[in-house]
Point group: C2
Amino acid sequence: MKLSNGVEWAAHCCVVLSQATRPVPAARLAEFHGVSPTYLAKHLQALTRAGITSSVEGPVGGYALTREPGAISLGDVVAAIDGDQPAFRCTEIRQRGPLAASPTACATPCPIAAAMAVAEAAYRDALGTVTIADLAADVERGKDGALARLRTWLADGDATAVPTPRRARR
Amino acid sequence: MKLSNGVEWAAHCCVVLSQATRPVPAARLAEFHGVSPTYLAKHLQALTRAGITSSVEGPVGGYALTREPGAISLGDVVAAIDGDQPAFRCTEIRQRGPLAASPTACATPCPIAAAMAVAEAAYRDALGTVTIADLAADVERGKDGALARLRTWLADGDATAVPTPRRARR
């Protein structure tokens, strides 16, 4: 079982966007992360499809969070990139074979599926309690000034932005 | 993110084996589950590699659990089939780009990786508390007599077993 690599990229982008005072162009997000804009684009588009980011058109356009960083959980980001399907998908094995249970006898979930669902709920609950604001606060506590430098870097980009129209990505 | 289908087959096989009084041939396990022996074989072999089952050679050979059903957790079965690698694998994105953190500044995990690890630990902990004995007890509580019928079916197989040598699978 492996999460898509996009989860890591998307979560980092959200933390960066939480420090921006205006939309951040996709190219600038890609530059900050040292990755190609085309690679990052699909993850930014997935965040936008999930309603976590929006893309703003125009010369000062780019990506922005749609709500407060404290209202976006890490679970929201995982679901945006990797979907919200359960990892375990019961195929009703108990309804197979010579002693197959009847569908009516299977009104309640198979105990195996039920136990897997409890574990997945614990996972989702844990991810749901961590917000982008929490993650940014953790970085701030790192004492290496990473967030302050990020904010300066973002502001420098704002100051030097060339005001040419830019097609918004969604 | 999706678990291998093998997890479901392997967990069902373990519950069946928990009700057997002697090794169950792979062909009989496949018959019980209404699936081809070749398909089931790879999951049984994975359980054996993980030390959850053993295969016994000879005319009354087959698969058996290596320890009490109460000492085999659903987490053990998931790890046997799907491995025990974390689902989230940090690639140290914070060490990329123009403001890259130095490796020495990254002695502690990235907050994103740390939060993902906490969630995965919650998932594993939940799976670790459910044993094959618990799952069998849950089936027993189903009141449709499924486990009693299974035990009778397994005993019938023992009585009619043809004593021809059978190559053990591992």
